[in-house]
């Protein structure tokens, strides 16, 4: 998740700045400046701050959705899914104990490993990182990804016992 947001931020810093500047600056600076002077309008300031936060998030998601390529969106969705599955397995291990340990290891490491491989695929296929992977075409990256994933699945399934 952190990777995603940071990627989104680094990918396009300029538009974010643009949207924040586009917000009518009437309330926020005023409230911020008036707050230390008068104590009473304090509750007033929180909704306005919330408002600004939701606005930031809204614009952020809007921007993320509009500027991110389809495949990267797909990658992010898959990674979110893997994180959820991984957390569920780990919670189950904490609550119900780790017997049989083999099964826990293989189940959890399948999910984590898949997440790592997917993250690698994302790094290799992001437009912004193109100059770092000159020799790796997106097709090549995907083929590597499929091969490594199959090996991972093979090992995990065998490790279940």
């Amino acid at each position: 998740m952190a990777k995603k947001s940071s990627a989104a931020r680094t990918a396009s810093p300029a538009p974010v700045a643009a949207t924040t500047t586009a917000i009518p600056p009437a309330t926020t600076p005023a409230a911020a400046s008036s707050a230390p002077v008068a104590a009473t309008p304090k509750p007033k300031s929180t909704p306005s701050q919330n408002q600004s936060w939701t606005r930031v998030l809204n614009s952020l998601t809007k921007h993320y959705l509009s500027t991110t390529p389809q495949r990267t969106l797909l990658l992010d969705a898959f990674q979110v899914f893997l994180v959820v599955v991984g957390i569920l397995q780990f919670l189950y291990c904490i609550l119900a104990g780790n017997y049989p340990f083999n099964a826990f290891l293989s189940g959890f490491s399948a999910t984590v490993g898949q997440f790592v491989l997917t993250a690698s695929l994302r790094i290799q296929t992001t437009e912004g990182n193109k100059k770092d992977f000159v020799s790796v075409s997106p097709e090549r990256a995907f083929a590597d990804y499929v091969g490594c994933s199959l090996i991972l699945h093979f090992f995990c399934v065998n490790f279940i016992n």
Binding site: P69, Q70, R71, L74, F78, F81, L82, V85, L88, Q89, Y92, C93, A96, G97, Y99, P100, N102, A103, F104, S106, G107, F108, A110, T111, Q114, T118, F142, V146, S149, H153, C156, V157, I160, N161
Partner: protein, 465 residues
Amino acid sequence: MRSLLSLIVFLFAVSVSAVSTTGNRLLAILDDVADKDNYSKFLGDLASRGFDLTFETPKSESLALFHLGERKYDHVIFFPTKTKGLGPNLTPNILVQFLNANGNVLVTLSSGVAAPNSLVSFLAELDIQLPADRTGLVVDHFNYDTASAADLHDVLLLPTPKTVRSDIKNIFGAAAPADSVIAFPRGVGAALGASELLTPIVRAPRNAYSYNPKEQAQVVDDLFAAGEQLSLVSSFQALNSARLVLLGSAELLQDKWFDEAEVTKVDGKKVKTYNREFAKRISAWTFQELGVLRVNWIEHHLSEEGAVNVSNPKIYRIKNKVSYTISLSEYTYDSWSAFNVPANDAIQLEFSMLSPFHRLALEFDKAHSTKDAAAYSAEFVLPDQHGIFNFKVNYKRPFLSNVEEKNTVSVRHMAHNEWPRSFAISGAWPWISGIGVTVVGWVAFCALWLYSAPPKGKKESKKTQ
């Protein structure tokens, strides 16, 4: 003709079976062979129980306990002898060798005759101390026969033996009539050491003491021992179950105290002696006719469902359920009967590697018992430890011959394919489905990835950039 022959064979079998478990060659050592007339009833009892008696004097040239390294006799009785030593054929060393070779010894003493040096040293070897000067006299001014020892108080009237401990069967006094006593005329008491192989059969009454009538006739100043310190009849059983009994009074075995001879207690009551039955039981115990245990068979096997049930396998696996059975018989005069463990006692099984991992009480197993053999069994789960283990039964009790049985087995660890599979354990299902979900999600992702390829033209235009 045939029936006559079978009758003879039967009689022969009976006469042979009615004897000790270790043999019937009995050597009696007397000062003078004519002395045996005093003991005619006792010796007659022995002969009727199937013993083959030989009489010798210590001076005899032909006397030898061993011939070509083998025992010549199975049992020896020492009657009091006036000689100071017993000669070169009965040195303490030879007597210890005789015990080590499973020979049994009954030693009788008398206060009138000093015990031979050889016997004193031999008894000291077994941690039995006799009074100084090799003689002594036990008297009791409260328990004596007023009829025969009105002045000297040296014919003690002892209550019939009780069990030493509550978990031991009463071998010597079990059949005694309620008010009978053992007449113990002119006897010598011994002091027993702390050896666990020694057990007193009859201790002196609380008021008895031992003194030297020759030197302490006037004033008794230095007592050898008094009260229950004095053991009047003592038993010793070696680790090889060879037995020795020290009988403080040889006169106890003489005819005049046998057969319901009447003695008078201090309170004037006339009671009958228990001497004959007591002498029979003492000699029977010494000569391995009583309290002899036999291990008939030992069997152990896997007791798991669906397992191959081979008897006494050499190897087991950790955490196997195993059952162990031992069959024991006890000999009584002429026959083997089922050995019943006394009420407060338990026979135990150890499963040990250096130290016991399990020590379990063996329970009576009716299914495997017969009339003349009692089976005891235990069922248990082997420890979670692989290695070389022993099934060990170590049953050593006073007045019973020692049982020490060791059966060695290997215990191996789990083979890799003997663990339960994860999918058979319901707790693993969430993780297994985690892998499934990951794989299915991955396949779906790959399909979508291929489906959502960006338009070619755009890509080419990017490449040209």
